[in-house]
């Protein structure tokens, strides 16, 4: 048997589980051993499921009886601490007294259980998903650096090969940023594709649920399991759910790759730009057509996401403001929640008007391209405690810089994926970001999977 089976991708695990060459119990014990060994350094789990062994034993019984549920059956996965769970407490990253969440499964957790996944535990997140640092979690590639956020714990535990999939949520980049900084895959599906019912809200019209994983295929198995309409989520779409695995292993010679030369380029760390230009050359060399374009509206988009995110978060936390519970929040999150009251009604609506322009402008771009390519993050993982970093020609706030390239896809609600595309000169991972048309995850996956198969990045792991 493989020394650390849990470090292998789901396709391999699933095949062995189904054939009886591997048991879910053995796989879970391997995950738990790695948690015991590594999480003292990473501090990325906040809770482990007491019933995990019972879940694994049940999966083994079912598989032995020929009742195989699919690729996730018997596979340990983790979920971010803002996904409500019946068997574990949820804190959404806060220690504030007086803030409580229901003990019931969120829609995604219920779907993962239905698919036979073993919910092994909950991962650390930046408090209320309002930040991209996730203290005190560490980046497995360099323990002195941040894992990103707000799904930083999920990024760290996947990068450390503890579980092949950990769920995250993404309001401005919170799946893709930790994926890029930790060297994993991170998939934000189209708004409406995956139910957010039972996920602690941050900003209703920007929040997305999705996986972080070892490989593109691993995210695809998770996406197959969690997609679909849910009347309990007002943003949920009544759209057909294809079998996303059909996009794996497909050619991309007919692909048209868009490159947005304003906003996405010109202000990134040099190693990031170099890795992305190499990725562009890969697509060109395999026969894809490159199409360069500009989106001038992006010059106004940061104010729009600030207006929507601040006002939404403050509306959600109005009870905590009124009760004084915000005084128990960390200082930075408390400040953000308090300042949302300064965003005016016209500001909010103007932001929603800008969103309409952005969506329509992107629709015109997608008449000529199938995916849009760029960096996920303009910088690699920064040192813990550092708030300013050199990006391009200037010193910039890491918080402002880190989500610059991801939030446009939240404003537009389009599917976007981050996958590893190299390392900087200090050995830190760099993320390649692809986005596609609404509900066209198939093309997104096809483009990402082809890039992944053409490189060896997914086989490079941190030495912990």
């Amino acid at each position: 048997m493989h020394e650390n089976p849990i470090t292998r991708p789901i396709a391999e695990l699933s095949a062995d589980l189904r054939l009886g060459k591997l048991t879910s119990i053995d796989l879970l014990e391997n995950a738990l051993d790695r948690i015991a060994m590594l999480d003292r350094k990473l501090e990325s789990f906040v809770c482990l499921a007491e019933d995990a062994r019972a879940q694994a034993a049940a999966a083994d019984r079912e598989i032995a009886q020929g009742r195989w549920r699919g690729p996730l059956h018997g596979v340990p996965v983790a979920v971010k601490d803002n996904y409500l769970t019946a068997d574990m407490p949820s804190r959404a990253g806060t220690d504030a007294p007086g803030v409580h969440f229901a003990r019931q499964d969120s829609a995604v957790v219920a779907k993962l259980r239905e698919a036979g996944a073993i919910i092994v535990g909950k991962t650390r997140m930046h408090e209320f998903a309002w930040g991209n640092v996730t203290p005190p979690s560490k980046n497995p590639w360099d323990l002195s650096r941040v894992p990103g956020g707000s799904s930083g714990g999920s990024g760290a535990v996947v990068a450390a090969r503890i579980v092949p999939v950990a769920m995250g949520s993404d309001t401005g980049g919170s799946i893709r940023i930790p994926a890029a900084l930790c060297g994993t895959v991170g998939l934000k599906p189209t708004f409406g594709r995956v139910s957010r019912a039972g996920i602690v809200p941050h900003s209703w019209s920007l929040d997305h649920a999705g996986p972080l994983s070892y490989t593109v295929a691993d995210s695809v198995y998770a996406l197959n399991a969690i997609s679909g309409h849910d009347p309990k989520d007002p943003g949920s779409a009544r759209t057909d759910v294809p079998d996303f695995t059909a996009a794996l292993g497909q050619p991309i010679t007919d692909l048209r790759v868009g490159i947005c030369r304003n906003h996405m380029f010109g202000n990134n760390q040099p190693d990031v730009d170099a890795a992305i230009e190499a990725a562009i050359r890969f697509y060109r060399d395999v026969g894809a057509q490159l199409v360069e374009f500009e989106l001038p509206i992006l010059a106004f988009s940061l104010g729009a996401i600030f207006a929507i995110e601040l006002s939404s978060s403050t509306a959600y936390h109005s009870r905590n403001l009124a009760s004084g519970a915000v005084t128990g929040f960390t200082n930075d999150v408390r400040t953000l929640v308090e300042m949302g009251r300064l965003v005016t009604g016209p500001d909010y609506l103007k932001a929603e008007q800008l969103r309409r322009v952005l969506i329509d402008d992107l629709a015109k771009v997608f008449a000529d391209v199938d995916v849009i390519l760029g960096p996920t993050c303009p910088l690699t993982a920064w040192p813990i405690g550092e708030w300013t970093v050199r990006v391009g020609a200037q010193d910039e706030s890491v918080l402002a810089a880190s989500w610059r390239l991801t939030y446009p896809w939240n404003l537009a609600g389009l599917p976007a994926i981050s996958l590893p595309c190299g390392f900087d000169s200090t050995g830190l991972p760099i993320g390649l970001q692809l986005a596609s048309r609404p509900f066209d995850e198939m093309t997104l996956i096809r483009a990402a999977d082809a890039y992944e198969r053409g490189h060896g990045w997914k086989d490079m792991h941190p030495k912990l």
Binding site: P231, G235, F300, L302, G303, E338, K350, R356
Partner: protein
Amino acid sequence: MNELEMLVEALGIQLEKERRSAVLAAFQPMAQEIAKLRSLDLTDVHPAVVFSPVPASQQG
């Protein structure tokens, strides 16, 4: 008193003096971005969020 401080007063936002300074200072760069947004003429653009008279239980 600058525009933001006047807004805090007008909205009746209760913040201790120290908190008010911290919140306003942190909001300053965001306010600058929102000011850029305000400069756009989007008169003929309907917001992306569309009202629906259908009850929440029947939507989606």
